[in-house]
Point group: C2
Chain length 83, copies 2
């Protein structure tokens, strides 16, 4: 049995408009940050999880993403084992 | 003049309750993921920005965080230069 900290980073797929990013860019321009070209917003879930081994944990994490955390139509995700 | 991609990762300070993380943990338990010990939710802003040099860009990014992106009472943030 091992314990791991896993980071799941969720962003929008290429070609999907990111209204939040666009609004933040606009607000930064209003605050005179004219050197900002683009803003993308992502969410991360840092999960502490236990399991038989790293492979099993990775499978569980993929299942969590599919069942709860992401919408496969618009989201891409990356999983990183932190420790 | 250089262009950089910068990631700003915003999370809650230690000791601040993360209701979203707690709810996700609860939902994962309901989906039978009983091996989840803790869930933390963070936000990332990936910003493409230009500037005189890395130092100036870093200063601009800190200023953006203070003026718009974070609430210093509850948030901690890290800045990472991606490329």
């Amino acid at each position: 049995m091992i314990y791991l900290k896993v980071e799941i980073k969720v962003g929008l797929k290429e070609g999907i408009t990111d209204p939040e990013g666009l609004n933040i860019k606009k607000s930064l321009k209003l605050l005179s940050f004219d050197n900002v070209e683009n803003v993308e917003v992502k969410r991360s879930y840092v999960i502490e999880i236990s399991g038989k081994d790293e492979k099993k944990i990775r499978e569980d994490v993929d299942m969590m993403c599919k069942k709860l955390l992401i919408n496969p139509v618009i989201h891409d995700y990356e999983v990183e084992m932190i420790k």
